[in-house]
């Protein structure tokens, strides 16, 4: 699903750009910070993104995938416990 080279498509390329929202910059910064402290590397980030269900991969925005990847890897490594972000948001 992530291996897109030559994937058949007639879709035109949408060239509108958008300035990154604060949360997107934050997501990018979190990945960078986690990399700098050695908790998550870029290969793990990519692997986690590639593990998304195909329909989710196509439906989510770029940084939404990064957020998914961080949660996946950090939960896998026991840095986060499953469901605790949901719990924090509900509080």
């Amino acid at each position: 699903m992530h291996d897109r080279g030559g994937w058949p498509t007639d879709a035109p390329i949408d060239r509108t750009d958008h300035e990154l929202a604060d949360w997107e910059l934050l997501a990018d910064a979190l990945v960078g910070a986690l990399g700098n402290v050695g908790v998550m590397n870029v290969d793990e980030l990519r692997r986690a993104i590639e593990s998304m269900p195909p329909e989710d991969y196509e439906a989510t925005s770029y940084y939404e995938r990064w957020l998914f990847a961080m949660e996946t890897i950090l939960t896998e490594k026991g840095v986060l416990t499953p469901g605790e972000i949901d719990a924090r948001l509900a509080a």
Partner: protein, 93 residues
């Protein structure tokens, strides 16, 4: 350094379950080594909490676009350049 600039190489036509950086469109294709890069950690193991060692040399290889896409619309000289790890390359006849 296993492959030299200008040498013909084939990209392994190997199924790999799990994270790897050799695009599907390139597998089994024959290309030319354009340059050799240093060695880098192997993403295939580093992606799963491994250390990615031993490092593998990366090569920039080029393939004729017409060899990749049956319906390629472009010049006969057009090429695609891709960075491929040494352990994904074989000598081509």
């Amino acid at each position: 350094m296993r492959y030299r600039t200008g040498e013909s190489v084939r990209v392994a036509n190997r199924r790999h379950d799990g994270h790897h950086r050799t695009p599907g469109y390139l597998k089994g294709k024959i290309g030319i080594v354009e340059r050799s890069h240093p060695a880098f950690t192997n993403p295939e193991t580093r992606a799963y909490d491994g250390d990615g060692l031993p490092e593998q040399r990366l090569y920039l290889i080029s393939v004729s676009q017409r060899d990749l896409w049956p319906e390629y619309r472009g010049a006969a000289a057009d090429r695609l350049f891709v960075d491929v790890f040494e352990h994904w390359l074989e000598k081509a006849e």
